[in-house]
Symmetry: C2
Subunit: 217 residues, 2 copies
């Protein structure tokens, strides 16, 4: 059975991981079912928002019963595809790349980190959490031989586009990009950006806005 409807908005998709995280926490607490009202309360959404979101995927709740926590959790995992194994490599093994290599959240999304690559000969050969840092010139062969599905770009802004070109040139169709730039990639390549500077500027805005409000009161 295919529960998916086409054209689900990215806004809904971006809320699914939060649903998933909270459902896991409910399971850890031994809670087996939850109403959309109560689920909304802990998530900070309205009950109707939750029903609307989950209806995009066919709807799982039962009138008067609420949601079965484990069933809904498993369905969302299935929709997100996080139960499917995907091999990833990190390109750029500096501080950020090493921090990401140490990041413990890969497995929870079905990603397995296979290798890291860098141009810096002082980094090549070092291992981070059993993940070897290799020379970027060996990347093409590694991708061919190891079934890599995704590349994680942790280079500075300047090197990011050429790394993206190399990755897509080797057939990689999914990129998790930490470099503070928008990559140009072929149409069939997926890019998910983590733009830290944009997040920090939004924090700056909110702090500034609050100061402004306080000063005009």
């Amino acid at each position: 059975m295919d529960r998916m409807k086409p054209n689900i908005s990215m806004a809904v998709i971006r809320r699914l991981p939060k649903y998933y995280r909270y459902l896991n926490e409910l399971m850890e607490k031994g809670i087996t079912r939850i109403s959309s009202k109560e689920f909304g309360r802990i998530l900070g959404f309205t009950a109707s928002q939750i029903r609307q979101d989950l209806n995009c995927f066919g709807g799982f709740g039962q009138q008067g019963y609420g949601y079965n926590v484990r069933e809904l959790r498993d369905e969302i995992a299935n929709i997100l595809g996080i139960n499917k194994t995907k091999n990833a490599i990190i390109v750029g093994a500096g501080n950020l790349g090493q921090a990401i290599a140490n990041y413990s959240g890969f497995r929870g999304s079905g990603f397995v980190l296979k290798a890291m690559f860098d141009i810096n000969p002082r980094l090549v050969g070092i291992s981070i959490r059993d993940i070897k840092i290799m020379d970027i010139d060996d990347m093409g062969e590694f991708i061919k031989n190891s079934g890599v599905n995704a590349g994680i770009i942790c280079t500075p802004k300047e090197g990011a586009q050429s790394v993206a070109d190399r990755l897509t040139g080797e057939g990689i169709k999914a990129i998790w990009n930490f470099a503070p730039t928008d990559l140009e990639v072929p149409e069939d390549v997926i890019v998910e950006n983590v733009h830290l500077s944009e997040s920090l500027m939004v924090l700056a805005y909110m702090m500034n806005e609050r100061d402004r409000m306080e000063n005009t009161q």
Copy 2:
């Protein structure tokens, strides 16, 4: 003059850093003015989207002339408040905290990193980029004496809430949170989250969705 209108949506605010980044790139290329159409093209937005967004703040363009790149850049910087200095500390000096300490984007948003804190005695005393890692028990006094405006939480999920409680208890009103959890804070405290696992799950979803599309073709 106060150009701000109340109730600007967060969706608009979250686009401003991107405008700002592209305006800087235009300046670097020596481009002094740009039409909303051309600006839209390089940003991937429509011209009307851009005019609408910038109208929220009073509108800067002139019919038939377009936008003055430097003027618009400076206005957005002003709106974001990134030209105002804000002191920040990192709590949690493990891999992620150290990577964030090495992050070079603070100054661009007006943040100055003042210190790092951890509970691990093996980390206390070490310096990362001239930023000293201190014992978390000295945090309260440091905040009092150093005019700290923002806390950056880089702890595991488990410790994050108690760190948030300590920060807000010391009067910190802004948190940049990297821990994979939603913090409960007093109403007047701003929290900006960077949830890496949610971003990674969205990437997983898009990869899964593409596979699904290809398999049904």
